[in-house]
């Protein structure tokens, strides 16, 4: 008994240094001290440097006159606008190119990814070559290739390529007819909204009826008819209020229509092509991740191959696909900052110009970082909602 007491006492004494709690406390205190020390040192240096350079810190500079022009302005902006507005213009441009790129990359990626699983040898090889080429070269190079290698060597406006629907392609970009909404065109939008709402309602009722009675209803065609038909009807009823402003060719330039500049076009095409290669691999892995037994069981139940794909394979594949797909969307958004290399005024480009003009390095970089973080968080949040709907519902 006595010896055990001694032992316990001794062991508790010896364990003081080896106690994980003590160690962790010590280590963390050390980390905090080092961290605060270096932060304090950095802050002191920054204050010194800023005083030396006569730069006032703070975000007051955002109200100053920008004094530089931006080539693509989705919202009203002139060089007399404020720095703050310039940055907002850049942010909107980033969002535009990111959303457009995400949609196109998803479509191309799914097509190529499914193509890589095709039984058709030729299609499979073509898709493999696409993936292996685009996956292994830097996105910046793809952007330059579209910009300097393809779009810059297109003919001058005088010899533009004529494309269908009155659109043109030349070295100044892509021109297509701009829709002009006449009086009463609000009816079309209302009809579109009503159509979507009714389609959703029909789909819900049809699902409930199928659950209850087993009877099916042609939801797809009804929805198409509602969503396309109602606006068309409204268009006719309100007296054809929609007209098109066609681009017209003059001697040196094109007038009218809607111009997509080569900067946007090359960034958008490059991001779509590049990200599509990664999405294709994700889709392929997702579909292959659904075990063969699932397909066979569905076939044994008597489902047709289309239904097998729609009801059994795709819902399970999406579960595997969505998380990595989200990170590809985030990558695309972040890669859109490469716009600066070809002069498309995205967030990085405008914030960089502001930063250079004002010397407000700390604030400029902070704004950039926060804006991208928010974009990332919003994208993740949206995709998490989608993921939660797709996820396996377990008991």
């Amino acid at each position: 008994m006595a010896s055990q007491e001694v032992l316990r006492e001794e062991s508790s004494r010896a364990s003081f240094i080896n106690d994980p709690k003590v160690r962790s406390l010590f280590f963390q205190t050390l980390v905090v001290i080092v961290l605060f020390g270096s932060v304090w040192w950095i802050v002191q240096n920054v204050i010194d440097n800023l005083q030396r350079l006569h730069i006032a810190s703070g975000f007051g500079f955002l109200k100053g006159r920008a004094g530089f022009d931006i080539s693509d302005t989705p919202i009203a902006y002139t060089s007399d606008s404020t720095y703050g507005r310039a940055i907002v213009v850049g942010l909107i441009n980033t969002i535009i190119v990111a959303v457009a790129g995400i949609i196109t990359a998803t479509i191309i990626g799914f097509v190529i990814g499914i193509g890589r699983l095709s039984h058709n040898w030729l299609i499979q090889k073509i898709c493999t070559v696409y993936v292996e080429v685009f996956r292994n070269i830097p996105p910046l190079l793809v952007i330059f290739f579209w910009y300097s290698g393809v779009l810059a060597v297109l003919p001058a406006p005088r010899d533009s390529y004529h494309l269908p629907f009155g659109s043109f392609l030349n070295q100044r970009g892509f021109y297509f007819p701009r829709p002009v909404w006449g009086e009463g065109s609000w009816l079309i939008f209302v009809a579109l909204l009503v159509g979507i709402a009714m389609a959703w309602f029909v789909a819900r009722t049809a699902r409930q009826r199928q659950m209850a009675t087993g009877q099916q209803f042609p939801v797809l065609w009804t929805s198409v008819a509602l969503i396309v038909g109602l606006p068309l009807l409204a268009y006719v009823l309100s007296g054809f209020p929609l007209s098109f402003d066609l681009p017209k060719q003059s001697t040196f330039n094109l007038t009218g229509g809607f111009q997509v500049k080569p900067e946007f076009l090359s960034l958008y095409l490059a991001l779509s092509c590049y990200t599509a290669a990664f999405i294709a691999e994700i889709v392929r892995a997702g579909i292959r991740g659904v075990s063969k037994g699932q397909t066979e069981a569905a076939a044994a139940l008597g489902l047709r191959s289309g239904s097998i794909l729609r009801l059994v394979v795709v819902p399970q594949a999406m579960r595997i696909v969505i998380p990595p797909l989200t990170s590809q969307y985030l990558n695309l958004t972040k890669n859109s900052s490469l716009a600066i290399a070809i002069g498309y005024p995205d967030l990085t480009a405008t914030a960089g110009t502001v930063l250079n003009q004002t010397g407000q390095a700390v604030e400029g970089v902070l704004i950039m970082m926060i804006a991208y973080l928010i974009l990332s968080l919003v994208t993740s949040a949206v995709m998490n909602v989608v993921n939660a709907r797709m996820a396996l519902v377990e008991r």
């Binding site: 962790s24 280590f27 963390q28 980390v31 905090v32 961290l35 950095i42 240096n45 920054v46 010194d48 440097n49 800023l50 030396r52 095709s118 039984h119 058709n120 040898w121 030729l122 299609i123 073509i126 292996e132 080429v133 996956r135 292994n136 070269i137 830097p138 996105p139 910046l140 190079l141 330059f144 290739f145 300097s148 290698g149 393809v150 810059a152 060597v153 985030l330 972040k334 890669n335 900052s337 490469l338 600066i340 290399a341 990085t348 960089g352 930063l355 390095a361 700390v362 400029g364 970089v365 950039m368 970082m369 991208y372 973080l373 990332s376 968080l377």
Partner: protein
Amino acid sequence: MSWVRTEMALAQAAPASVRGPVAWVRKNLVGTVGDTIMTILGIAIVAWILPQVINWAFINAVWTGPDRTVCATVAQGGIQPDGWTGACWAFVNAKFGQFMFGTYPIEERWRPILVAILFVVLLVPMLIPRVPRKGLNAILLFLMLPIVSFFLLIGGVFGLPHVETSRWGGLLVTLSLSFVGIAVSLPLGTVLALGRRSKMPIVKTLCVVFIETVRGIPLITVLFFVSVMLPLFLPAGVTFDKFLRALIGVSLFAAAYMAEVVRGGLQAIPKGQYEGADSLGLGYWQKMGLIVLPQALKLVIPGIVNTFIGMFKDTSLVLIISMFDLLGVVKQNFSDANWATPQTARSGLVFAAFVFWLFCFGMSRYSMYTERRLDTGHKR
């Protein structure tokens, strides 16, 4: 009475419908109506693209020449017939030295070449599994080589003339940035991943904040950060080399991604392994270094190599803070009036793409090979 066959029936060749080229075509190209349509579509695509590419890259290409005239049509002031399009490999040929070394002094170019030879000599045995003495090899490759290369490339000692890093360029910059980035980001990322899974709240929070912030912003912003903010962070008068700043940016960025890859591996190790190590009386670093990390890293080799490939491609972004890596030098040379033709940009970019592609494709194939080799059969 029954009849019993006494000799074996002669084996016959499989019917023509299941073997041979005809059957292969029938199975793989024209199995169904849809298949046939797809095949025709595929043939149309290939027939449309391939001849153009071959024509441009080989048949019509110009391989040598003194200046732009060989790559321009008559209307553009050159010697080619109107309507000619072809690759201007003469441009790549003339600028090859710059594409490889930037403006590194020509009489000193033996130094990067020597470094490259050393690198290959040390790397090849490292990559071949059967060659012994991997430990010594790794020390030479990851410790000795950077030091030797540093003195060789920068110079200023042993009678070697000093070469400013601003004169480095081309593939030299791309490779040195990625090599250092790889050598720094793997250990740093591992430490960050361990920190993220640590039970110490402060350490954990710090690691999470660092990883998530860096992963949430583009590399360009990180490069902006290091090129604009680092000088502000340091006392007046202390300046950083621009190359070093880019190195710091790229390494930090890659480390955050590496941390997430390694964390995936750490999470995949069953709890029993940790507890087993604990019950053997191993300390934290012994437990991690001897039991957990070897298994975890092996699991995530594909992810690690993917991060390497991503970083190799990302080094091209240093162009934006006006450093000239391979892509930067190629782009810089577009504006050379001596070579400006409509074909120059395309040819230069295709060449750069080919170089990047070779490295990245090589890395990905090697990772697949390693993955197969290390597969211990424990996977389901």
